[in-house]
Symmetry: D2
Subunit: 390 residues, 4 copies
């Protein structure tokens, strides 16, 4: 058994969606550049690379138009491959965006019959997900949105979205499933504006549900960065609310179309802080890669990029350990008074605060203003650890 | 008494911050281009233009270094001017960002004494705000953030932020004040990344407070647009949560520095949908302009832009009324099945949905997929109403 | 003959790409929602709506894999339809992006044989374009770019791009064609970064070509707005260089994926200033719409959005005329000293400037600094004309 | 003498603006957090850190309102300090943005007297720059722009801008100065939109000047990234045109306000590719840091961040050397056919290309389309070299 910290093993809980390595390269301006991948081959390959598990949309595994017999056979082959390879299915999700019937959304489509169909399609795949051992069910509402102002009454649409999650929660309760939902926010693309555009909007929404404890988040690196937001900050807030149920790792180079680069490509410093956070936080779920090997690549490039996602995570984790264990870093954190942020502001309570003359009347504002925060020295230490230069 | 729908009157509840028309034009690359404005002149001018009220940061009214006597005199002059002009003070807020003591934040500064000072400065101005009749107290945490990854432990900082709002809530409760807090989110500037960067993040945060009912939002047009988010969508979600306590109206032309243009300048179509939403929603609070007359303007330009903020709101409200009352628009809304979105997806409950063969097994997906949504016709009607072309 | 300024006629020179109304709605997350459109139907419909002409990529008209016979027949049917409908083909272009062979670019693909194939495919369609009467040939290098840093040596790639345009220019010269090239810049999508990302980069590139006079620009509204740039400013600079050979009109709501909304949707104020500029400038080329009717729409929505593109242009042109002819606007322009900008700074030459004590030594800087620019009053007049409120 | 490749020496040609380490921390929402720095101290400190030179705006060195005597004394003290420390002044520039007289721009202000004053202020500082040994004169037109559409006729403004550079070129010619101009583009801030917003726009503009050979570029990392553009690509195009006369190095984290972080902070991967390009290209000018130590820092933080700018450049240069000399990288570049991009596409000329059946008629498109580009393997090698992991 390897102890090389840079060699992925199932203990690292790395997982991949079937649709990631399986992406054929069709984009808004081009057709497929790669052949379809058999899910069974994907399972074998990923196991060979050291992954822990695989995830899927219903339509990744079973063609949209498949009859019962085809469906059963596809599931059976997949399950056999999983068993043989020793791969888990910790998460599954529903494709509610590819077929034109979902062009106006699924749970918030203006057409009621489309909404009902979307719920039934989801429920059907929840059964399969549970059967295959999933404990998290992701909901990306990529088509729940609009391109124009009158097309969607947002408050009404949120009523419908709540109704959908309440019904799904009831279903899972009724069935006695050990399954939690994870909402995946995204600001835009494929819709002009998508409902629940960020981690924050989704967190707030969950609080209005009938079973908030059953619902958390599946944030994706690139989605928050498409709004120019700091992903590590967003994950920290999700953790603070106890709502990081799953995570999608990939890369994005700024505010533009959804790039889904391999993890490590894109904003490298934010990737470092993300790994630093995940490795220190109380999150033991999968490290799930939701990326697309660029359309320029053939099969060799696909598997190289999948392997690199894991390797980059492990490299960044190693850099984080080295950063956190460096005595100079600890001194720098103290110089920047991070330990002081952890102290309550008023352990003496409101009354204590109000009666403390040193807090206001006698406070030497100008002297306090002269203190430097020493953040540049601290950040430079972090950068040098990242570069492997310390 | 005027009945011209384009002439502002106090009934429209238009309010302005002292710091808006009073902005002297200092920016990151330039010094002031305009003289300081006396708050008393501001009150008189705004009343003359038809405003309902005025708002302030403590330091707008009373110099940071003022002693008690100066303070009392400033407040007295201001109150007299308000009474004379008949202007209200529906909102006030604290300046926790200008002085260098707040360079690392206020409620989440790493330095505990700065946090305590910030709370006391806030409490002091809450007393004044209540005395002057304010019912909303805004909290913009513009310096609560960081430029580098290790400088702020976000989860710990959120603990401190929660502690601050819990203490302030306790204070207001204890005093028996009829005052609610409104958090103003912003993604960045002046910090590289700010905590609670969007409407969504702030809504989620509020749910963790001891007195969530006392705390809502004060969203600002440009702040959400700096993250590329649809402001009208954000306001709709805030309303859905019952959390629109106040609103900051201005203009922004896309993702860049915070522009604070006059309302109507910037993204005109989003401004239209915002007014359309506010006028139809259950929001009867102030329409507060938080803008900065460009640095190129002299006093005449300042007052022209203030008047234009109100006129543009009224023009857009008129366009919205004309849009909503047009029979062709109603037909177009029906053609786009907006009324159907308002119907429950499963008034028959989960059991009904699960047993309905028409919902899934017998659903004609392809036929449903062929239905057009007719959004282009609807949006074109809206655009023509906006242009005054119908 | 109509004199309604809002009814499109061929005199307005409105043109559409076959691929615009013909877009079937396939996007990165969804399959087609509309059937293919026969180019002949497109021609008939557009003529019926008042358009002047139609444009095409080779593969829009003739399937990529078509043999000679199919090709000839397709061209013949198209030409007959054009003649019958009285529609022109003022522009054509090459599809160098859909087929996987172009996944790394065309004129700058690392593979030499792909570059040669791309040139031959272009030359072949140039012949057809000229045969159909086109005088402008657009080159959008959408796949000339990279997702990663070492994948493309940019200086070498620019050598190849120059070589390609020099060869194409030589071909057109040799053939004696009356045809000019128009480069269409775009910052990203479908590649992570595209060469010649903005109007400026393309203008600079042209100056290095062997036949710069034969090459100009085809800027697209949304492409510049994807970089947060002011489109009207970009067009003004292109006009200043004498390089506006063609233009692509559409709509975009900020920095995000390429939306290709109908003209008028998106940033309405920038659309106004664009029309104001085009109508006053020395540009008599086509007003070409390069948009995509949203994927939510059926055929009725497609044609409604096409008609709306033209109507919105005409509405904005009318608003511009009303703005420019308003005496108050003329006074406001004078108050903002626009006429003074048109005066030379130093009609007295360098010597005059250097010897003018009033220019520096005796210049009253503080007095000059106090002058207001009166831009807010001017901009408000523009906004009110746009809203049809004056 | 040190041979440590990570210790800065004058041979590395690192330079800093007086205004960088001297920035006092005033931002749009806050006042200064640091005392003013004496230029003499700056010179001594920078020399101590291993810098090669220092640069300045006129007003950095000599107060705006200074009389002749003060001016002479300031220059003399500065020159003495330079001589003592052995520091060079390779570049200087004019402050045409801080004083309110420039609120509408300088060379393109609507007011003719402001334009004349700006030219004279520039000429005066050119004399000083040359006297101090500068060979590059930077022109950042930060206030040449507008917030609203009618405020600036862009074509007329470009006429004025050209007039200004033609006059300045004439002056320098007349004086026989060995001085070249370097235009610094920026898309926005402090104006809503700035003229010559990107590297491309400035390159194109230069081609219209009377003395194009005298004018090149001074691109700044963050300015291009504020438009979402790839900075290394932009620099490559500037080099391709022979127009990289100077460069401003700093850091920026995406599309937002101008951050001016220390070099290495911000987009680390783009910084790596930039250094990789600069070190391999024919550029031997200064590596000029135009950054602002964050407002949170005291003097220790200021000098730590200045030292880190240089160290990060040297670290990245070392990583670049290791990348370029790795045999696996060379193999990967070949596998991605980079050497093939360097071959002419048609060394056989147009006739050869047209008569080559293998180029089109017999070209096996499908076979060519199947080739992978192997970019993921190549980019992963680059990433691992950057992380110091190979």
């Amino acid at each position: 058994m390897t102890t090389d910290p840079l060699t992925p093993t199932p203990a690292h809980k790395f997982t991949f969606g079937l649709w990631t390595v399986g992406w054929q390269g069709q984009d808004p301006f081009g057709s497929a550049t790669r052949a379809a991948l058999d899910p069974v081959e994907t399972v074998e390959r990923l196991a060979g690379l050291g992954a822990y598990g695989v995830t899927f949309h219903d339509d990744d595994l079973i063609p949209f138009t498949a009859g019962e017999a085809t469906r059963e056979q596809a599931v059976k082959r997949f399950r056999t491959a999983l068993d043989t390879a020793g791969l888990k299915v910790p998460m599954a999700t529903t494709n509610l965006f590819t077929h034109p019937v979902f062009k106006d959304g699924a749970f918030t489509a203006n057409d009621r019959d489309v909404r009902r169909y979307a719920l039934r399609k989801t429920i059907r795949n929840i059964d399969l997900a549970v059967e295959l051992g999933a404990s998290v069910y992701v909901a990306w509402g990529g088509r729940e949105g609009a391109e124009s102002g009158a097309a969607k009454d947002v408050r009404t649409a949120l009523d419908r979205l709540k109704e959908a999650f309440d019904l799904l929660g009831e279903y899972v309760d009724t069935q006695g499933y050990d399954l939690r939902f994870a909402i995946e926010p995204k600001p835009n693309e494929p819709r002009g504006d998508i409902l629940l555009p960020t981690i924050g909007h989704a967190l707030a929404f969950i609080d209005e549900l009938e079973r908030p404890e059953r619902v958390g988040l599946n944030p994706e690196v690139g989605h928050e960065q498409m709004a120019g937001l700091n992903f590590a900050h967003g994950i920290a807030q999700a953790l603070w609310h106890g709502k990081l149920f799953h995570i999608d790792l990939n890369g994005q180079t700024g505010i533009k179309y959804d790039q889904d680069l391999r993890f490590g490509a894109g904003d490298l410093r934010q990737a470092f802080w993300l790994v630093d956070l995940l490795e220190s936080a109380d999150y033991d779920g999968p490290r799930h890669f939701d990326f697309k090997p660029p359309r320029t690549e053939d099969a060799a490039g696909v598997w190289a990029s999948a392997a690199a996602c894991m390797r980059n995570y492990l490299l960044l984790a190693e850099r984080s350990r080295s950063f956190r264990s460096d005595p100079e870093v600890r001194a720098a954190l103290a110089a920047s008074r991070l330990p002081e942020l952890a102290l309550p502001t008023a352990e003496d309570g409101l009354a204590g605060l109000l009666s403390d003359r040193s807090a206001f009347d006698d406070f030497d504002v100008e002297a306090a203003a002269r203190r430097g925060m020493a953040y540049e020295q601290l950040d430079q230490l972090a950068l040098e650890h990242l570069l492997g230069a310390r």
